[in-house]
């Protein structure tokens, strides 16, 4: 077997050294009645690289790849072009096959990358500090609510109706067990967000207000009034972002008063991958850093005075604090954070700004063309690269009908909110730099047909 270096002669020499007559003797602590005597029945035997590749390729071929058709899905995962050098660099064995940098003298590569990543995320979000990443945006969102509870010692979170419904579900699931109270609502198909509802709901029990920006319908609104209202009541503003490219063109949450900013970093460098692995981003104010979950890389010096980096403030973490830790999180999303960081380095401010402008221009173009289809209404006044249409027909079957025409034409609100009949005609369309004029034309024609 190609991944196993021991020969039979090695095994037998090693068993001699161990003083065991057979491998079975080494498994003597396993009760005999539970020990398997041969390969597990029903599973195939080992296979050649060629045979395995053929098997896996056949399954891959059963999927429609986003790059093969006109493609307009968003809602928390975005198709952007990833420069070839990103995937090349993350496949260097020294990055790919390294462990968590617990031995900093021989992990400066990973540690410096994490320090740079933290700085990039903090600047993108307009915050002072960021951690070395979380599992994904949804789990980061829940961790932010927990962090706000620890800081304010209050348990009520007011959640915007514009927060991604999967994120709401994750928070609702966890809150059942922690006793946090969540004030939630489903969105309305209006151009305005529900900032009025949220501001009115803030009271002296409120730990935080959680707002997505841009929100699930693609809307963007000034967060300053919510920040002021939250702070006046001693609550925190948590801002969630699922499309980091947007922050190349619109104000950062930090500059509008956010205390904790979390999000999904997938759009930069990571790729769609059917939902994972992605990379959760998490940033906050310096004064809250000891309440922040997750790993942190920090700067220090070595015994010769040279600059170096280490994992730090680990007294917050489970391997030191055990049941008193800020979170049970252990793994971060290191390789995805690396991909994010490399892509962001290639972009820089200049590239990110250009990319964002290109996305917005294409989305404006598509919105104007699609809104001109008879019976179709553009819900948004303001948006970045994603907007919501109200169709004259139910959107969920319309999406399937567009598949028949070779178009992946957005995400229906019927799929995201199956219990909200008033949202059934809503269709969320994301338009990135990857969508060509021709793609937009194909979508326009397909949507026109399915709306008749």
């Amino acid at each position: 077997m190609r991944y196993l270096p021991l020969s039979d002669a090695d095994r037998s020499a090693m068993l001699d050294k161990v003083g065991a007559g057979s491998v079975d003797e080494l498994f003597r602590d396993v009760p005999e009645e539970a020990r398997l005597t041969g390969p597990i029945h029903g599973l195939p035997m080992h296979a050649s690289e060629m045979a395995v590749e053929r098997d896996m390729k056949a399954m891959a071929a059963k999927n429609v790849a986003a790059g093969d058709v006109p493609f307009f899905l968003g809602c928390g995962a975005y198709k952007h072009h990833i420069p070839a050098s990103v995937d090349h660099l993350i496949q260097r064995g020294e990055f790919l096959t390294a462990y968590t940098p617990y031995q900093p003298e021989i992990a400066q590569g990973t540690l410096q990358v994490l320090f740079e990543f933290q700085t990039q995320v903090a600047r993108l979000y307009g915050c002072e500090v960021a951690n070395a990443s979380m599992y994904d945006g949804s789990t980061a969102c829940w961790e932010a609510i927990g962090m706000a509870r620890r800081i304010t010692r209050r348990k009520k979170a007011i959640v915007s109706s514009g927060l991604h419904p999967h994120y709401v579900s994750v928070c609702r699931t966890m809150a059942k067990f922690t006793g946090d109270l969540l004030d939630t609502a489903a969105p309305e198909l209006t151009a305005e967000t529900d900032s009025g509802r949220m501001i009115a709901a803030i009271d002296s029990e409120t730990s935080c207000v959680v707002v997505q920006y841009p929100d699930i319908l693609g809307r963007i609104a000034d967060l300053t009034p919510i920040a002021e209202a939250a702070h006046a009541a001693g609550a925190l503003l948590v801002v969630v972002n699922t499309e980091p490219v947007a922050l190349g063109q619109i104000k950062s949450p930090g500059e509008m008063g956010a205390d904790i900013v979390v999000g999904e970093g997938q759009a930069i460098g990571v790729g769609l991958q059917f939902g994972g692995p992605y990379v959760g981003l998490f940033a906050t104010r310096e004064k809250f850093v000891r309440q922040m979950p997750g790993r942190l890389a920090g700067e220090t010096i070595d015994a010769e005075g040279k600059r170096g980096f280490v994992l730090t403030l680990s007294t917050r973490e489970q391997h030191i604090r055990r049941e008193k830790a800020t979170s049970n999180i252990c793994t971060n999303s290191g390789l995805c954070a690396l991909a994010f960081s490399i892509h962001m380095t290639l972009l820089g401010e200049k590239g990110l700004t250009s990319l964002a402008k290109l996305n917005h221009a294409r989305a404006c173009e598509a919105a104007a063309r699609l809104a001109a289809i008879p019976g179709v209404r553009l819900v948004n006044h303001a948006f970045f690269n994603e907007f919501t249409l109200e169709l004259p027909v139910e959107a969920r079957p319309a999406v399937h009908a567009m598949v028949e025409k070779g178009v992946l034409g957005g995400v229906s609100l019927g799929r995201l909110y199956p219990d909200e009949e008033r949202l059934a005609n809503g269709l969320v369309i994301a338009v990135t730099e990857a969508a060509s004029d021709e793609d937009i034309g194909t979508l326009e024609a397909a949507l026109k047909e399915v709306c008749q």
């Binding site: 896996m56 399954m59 050098s85 390294a98 059917f274 049970n328 221009a361 173009e365």
Partner: protein
């Protein structure tokens, strides 16, 4: 082609004795220093070209951003920056990485190739299900393998990592207990457990109590039985445990816990030792997470992403989280709607957006198909042979607290007993770095003083182990003899020992652009803020 007309031959000049001279750049041949991105990049530089767009009126609600301050690099500079940084990392691709309980095995490159097929890598999680049947099939097939290998009833695929899997298992347990109107408050965890176990139990609202161990490093069954009662929701057992030992009483533990109305969580971090040899389902386990990034070879990536599917017993399967994949009409269907339905009347809910770590699923399934049922059993056997070979080759120079009780499983544990006064595990670890090895897990588990937990995995050759043994024997003898030079190690790494106390006392967690007057980003400076 090169010629050497002068007939010059290398010699060792006397000047190179002692410390090597400084270089102008700070580099040392192939060991290249690399500044921070923020010191070499520029806001005006970029490594990506974009086509021109027609910019009409923007629709950004007047929220245009003015300031970003993100430096960029051209593509050649980017490739060099990250290539140079990569060379300051140790990695499995370079050599033995014997971190106990981390299972740092070879990462096959076929896995990487398969995961990058556009049909897997370039698929959106919310695509209509008729366009992702192959992806759902991968999840279904991997789930089938995990169920067969563990002898369990069902598997929850969405947890993002091992600790997330623990959370999934404990939430299933708590939901199942509440469903029968049985509010219990305590979770019992051995002292030798990973820190995630008590952290997870506390997160789920449980009070954590320790389970005592016997002198031979196993759960003390009698003491456990004495503690069981109507307040104990679950016990969390790692098996094989973090001392590298199989819990021979596992079935008796499970039976006792069940008899007292509790449930059994097994931490599957060490499944590599027993895959294909014994099925946890036959030992009475109710829930166990499986680290695909350990047993099933998905890359650790410098600290993630992981993937932690959780296998469940019949008692817990109804409470599994959303979403999950079912077979229907010759195809596959993703059950994702949160509202309780006949398909999941009692699910505890959703743990993450979308459907789990698909990119890890494709890699893990590729690995399983490569090994097959026969190969996976051989994996377990070779990992155990390698660990026992290390144990017996080192026990005369390193204290092995449980070696008396018989063979270990996939990892061997030693203590710092017998080292000269003032010498500890860290000195041995740092000396291993100079010998070209990654150190073992240090000071864990907590139940062994100065623990050194060594997990070679099955992908190491005998010759490689022999070299490691020779190096570690020599270092152990120096630690016993009190050789002060150990305290200076590592000498040959990119950095000497780093000051972790300074890093924690005055945290510098983001780069601060130096002020124009020349005041630096240096340590000792107070944290400056945004």
């Amino acid at each position: 082609m090169s010629v050497n007309p002068s007939g010059w031959r290398p010699s060792a000049p006397a000047a190179s004795q002692g410390s090597a001279p400084a270089t102008v750049t700070g580099n040392r041949a192939l060991m290249l220093e690399e500044p921070l991105l923020f010191e070499i990049g520029s806001r005006d530089q970029t490594g990506v070209d974009f086509e021109q767009a027609d910019f009409g009126e923007s629709r950004l609600a007047g929220l245009e951003r003015q300031d970003l301050d993100l430096p960029g690099l051209s593509e050649p500079e980017t490739v060099r920056h990250y290539t140079r940084l990569s060379r300051q990392n140790y990695a499995i691709d370079l050599g033995l990485f014997p971190l106990g309980s981390c299972t740092m095995k070879h990462n096959p490159r076929l896995n990487e190739k398969v995961a990058r097929l556009p049909g897997f890598a370039d698929v959106h999680p919310l695509q209509p299900q008729e366009t992702v049947q192959g992806a759902l099939m991968v999840i279904d097939r991997l789930a089938g393998w995990l169920i067969e290998l563990t002898g369990m009833h069902a598997v929850a695929m969405s947890p993002k990592a091992g600790a997330h899997g623990e959370l999934c298992g404990l939430l299933c347990i708590r939901t199942a207990l509440e469903a029968r109107g049985d509010a219990r408050e305590v979770v019992l965890v051995p002292e030798s457990a990973h820190g995630t176990n008590p952290a997870t139990a506390a997160f789920c609202g449980y009070r954590v109590e320790d389970i005592p161990a016997t002198k031979s490093g196993r759960v003390d069954l009698a003491a456990l039985k004495a503690r069981l009662g109507a307040d104990v929701a679950a016990v969390m057992i790692t098996n094989p445990n973090t001392c590298g030992l199989f819990e021979p009483d596992m079935k008796a533990i499970s039976d006792a816990v069940h008899a007292a109305g509790g449930l059994v969580y097994c931490d599957g971090a060490n499944f590599n030792a027993i895959v294909g040899k014994v099925r946890p389902g036959d030992l009475g386990i109710d829930a166990m997470h499986i680290n695909l990034h350990k047993t099933f070879s998905t890359p650790h990536g410098g600290g993630g992403p992981g993937s932690g599917p959780v296998v469940l017993s019949q008692a817990l399967a109804p409470f599994a989280p959303l979403p999950f994949v079912t077979r229907s009409n010759g195809g596959f269907r993703l059950i994702e709607e949160e509202t309780a339905s006949e398909e999941h009347p009692r699910s505890f809910g959703r743990m993450t957006a979308f459907h789990g770590q698909m990119g890890m699923f494709t890699r893990a399934l590729t690995y399983m198909l490569s090994h097959g049922a026969d190969g996976l059993a051989q994996v377990a056997e070779d990992s155990v042979v390698n660990a026992n070979y290390l144990l017996r080759s080192l026990e005369d120079v390193l204290d092995a607290p449980f070696a008396f009780s018989g063979p270990c499983m996939h990892e061997a544990i030693f203590s710092d007993k017998g080292f000269a006064e003032g010498f500890s595990t860290i000195d041995v670890a740092k000396a291993l770095i100079d010998e070209g090895f990654h150190p073992m897990t240090m000071y864990f588990p907590l139940v062994v003083h100065g623990a050194m937990l060594i997990e070679p995995t099955e992908t190491e050759s005998k010759a490689g182990l022999d070299q490691f043994i020779a190096a570690l024997r020599s270092i152990a003898e120096r630690a016993r003899a009190g050789d002060e030079s150990l305290k200076a190690a590592p000498i040959f790494a990119p950095r000497r020992r780093l000051d972790e106390t300074l890093a924690a006392r005055k945290p510098v967690l983001a780069y601060q652009t130096p002020a124009p007057d020349g005041a630096g980003n240096g340590f000792g400076a107070e944290f400056g803020g945004g």
